[in-house]
């Protein structure tokens, strides 16, 4: 028990906050995979049409 009671986080932070942080962790990964910047002039082929990506907006 000495190990837990001596830990910085367990001494300074309430257990409730720790749980909330753990729950929030997966959501943080969303910010890591930010979508690439889309080139509006990129040429795309949709249903036979040769279009600019911005045409699809």
């Amino acid at each position: 028990m000495t190990f837990f009671t001596g830990n910085f986080f367990t001494r300074k932070m309430p257990r409730r906050m720790i749980v909330q942080m753990l729950i929030a962790l997966p959501a943080l990964s969303l910010f890591r995979n930010q979508p690439a910047v889309v080139d509006p002039d990129e040429i795309v082929e949709v249903n036979g049409w040769i279009l600019k990506r911005s045409d699809l907006a």
């Binding site: 002039d41 040429i43 082929e45 949709v46 249903n47 036979g48 049409w49 040769i50 279009l51 600019k52 045409d55 699809l56 907006a57």
Partner: protein, 479 residues
């Protein structure tokens, strides 16, 4: 002089130095050049002055492979040859068409565009053409090219009086050579057929076959067979590498701005790829014919576009009330890769009235051409989109890899190859001067000598090559 039979010609005691077979654009042009140089020439024309079913019947044949036109419909057998149904569209093969393409075997000519350029002023006179304007690049990939719609010179009509008045040229109608005889070095004579019967043997110092892009191969194949190889000693390529310009509707376009190009009097404009684009995509040459279409087509296209890109469709629609000119149909005609397997053979079962085997044409479009069609439309569509000139929709059957439609133009009635020009005797039939390899006195005129077809109509190039051959032969004979 013009004679209606070989009998009448013989009675005139005209001695010809050169015998030209066929009075189409190539035959007539070469005859005029030689006649002007003071060289006596006889032109044997199989038909008469007018079309007849009896004459056309000699052109019947069969096609194996892809669907093609009836062989007695796709060409004409009377004075002036197939110029009699020519549409008159003119353009010379581009410089790049003469160059070998690393991605397409058996491409490249032994001559360059510069070799025929000196003859273009004469060609312009013959075909009554204004000067061509230079190509206009509308992107790094696509050129706006000019294809002149000429008055469509009918060589038989246009030059009949001149030929009749000539003292050096004798045109003999209803007469042709069923076969040439040769000893492996020279043509020694021709077996003639006139007005429905055998007319005996005929000889001249030089022979030039100008019977068309199908018939040249037929005549030489049959002659060679009868002479045990004495007419075309190196016959590996004879009849092979035959080419057309396959032509299909490739899709549509909605056009927003004509700032970079104008349509002609028929509401058409023409586009081709740059050499760099062909090289990058490893495709053949092609021509896109953009034809403005009536208003209802615009609405249909915009409705279709609205399903995919509603905002773009709305913008296009708004242009309708401003200066949007129209929608367009896109027809694509492309260069066929020269393939030895596309060839003219002699029928083993069917002969004409003179006993000459009919043509069995083996013709099939390749995968490279299919890719040329699709990538060509993509290139054009990309250019229009990038330049905000409009948007292109590729026909479903092309995008989906479907079969070629059977109810469209199919091809251009352009018969090329079969006696192609080259330096390798196993892959060509004539040399750079259109002389049959190994023969001293046999030449070939017309589009059968084409090594590659480019994307444009062949008559202008045929006429230029004929001027060049006429000049060359005039010098050879004068020596």
């Amino acid at each position: 002089m013009i004679f209606d039979s070989y009998e009448a010609f013989r009675a005139a005691n005209f001695t010809a130095k050169v015998c030209i077979l066929g009075s189409g654009p190539a035959g007539t042009t070469i005859a005029r050049k030689l006649g002007a140089a003071g060289i006596p020439v006889v032109v044997l024309e199989a038909g008469s002055r007018e079309f007849s079913d009896e004459s056309q019947d000699f052109y019947r044949g069969t096609t194996v492979g892809d669907p093609y036109f009836d062989l007695d419909i796709t060409r004409l057998r009377f004075m002036g040859g197939s110029s009699n149904h020519w549409a008159g569209w003119c353009r010379v093969l581009d410089s790049q068409d003469f160059e070998p393409k690393a991605w397409a075997p058996d491409t490249g000519w032994p001559i360059s565009r510069a070799d025929i350029d000196p003859y273009l002023p004469e060609v312009h006179d013959i075909l009554e053409l204004p000067d061509f304007r230079p190509d206009v690049p509308i992107s790094d990939d696509i050129r706006w090219i000019q294809l002149i719609k000429s008055p469509a010179v009918r060589f038989g009509e246009k030059f009949a009086d001149e030929l009749d008045a000539s003292r050096n040229i004798a045109v003999v109608l209803n007469t042709y050579a069923t076969e040439l005889a040769g000893d492996g070095k020279r043509v020694t004579g021709a077996r003639l057929w006139s007005n429905g019967q055998d007319a005996g043997a005929f000889s001249a110092d030089y022979f030039i076959t100008c019977t068309g892009g199908l018939e040249n191969s037929r005549l030489l194949l049959w002659s060679n067979q009868r002479s045990n190889g004495g007419v075309v000693p190196n016959a590996t390529a004879l009849g092979r590498y035959w080419m057309e310009h396959p032509t299909f509707e490739g899709g549509n376009a909605i056009l927003a701005d004509y700032g970079e190009f104008e349509v002609d009097a028929d509401n058409e404009a023409f586009f081709s790829p740059t050499l760099a684009a062909m090289e990058r995509l490893q495709i053949m040459n092609f021509g896109i014919r953009l034809i403005e279409t009536p208003y209802p087509h615009v609405k249909r296209l915009i409705a279709d576009l609205a399903c995919t890109a509603p905002d773009m469709a709305e913008w296009m629609s708004s242009r309708l009330s401003q200066n949007l000119r129209c929608a367009a149909q896109l027809y694509v005609a492309w260069e066929q890769a020269p393939l030895a397997s596309n060839q003219i053979e002699l029928s083993k079962t069917d002969v004409d009235h003179a006993g000459v085997p009919r043509i069995e044409l083996h013709w099939k479009k390749s995968e490279l051409e299919r890719r040329t069609l699709l990538e060509g439309l993509r290139l054009f569509g990309t250019t229009l989109a990038q330049k905000n000139l409009g948007r292109v929709r590729i026909a479903d059957w092309i995008g989906n890899g479907g079969d070629y439609p059977t109810n469209e133009e199919t091809a251009g009635h352009h018969h090329m190859g079969g006696t192609r020009m080259g330096t390798d005797v196993t892959r060509s039939v004539v040399d750079a001067n259109c002389k049959v390899h190994g023969m001293d006195n046999l030449y070939v005129g017309g589009s059968s000598v084409f090594c590659t077809s480019g994307e444009c109509n062949p008559t202008t190039t045929i006429t230029a090559l004929a001027c060049r051959l006429g000049d060359h032969l005039g010098k050879v004979i004068a020596v």
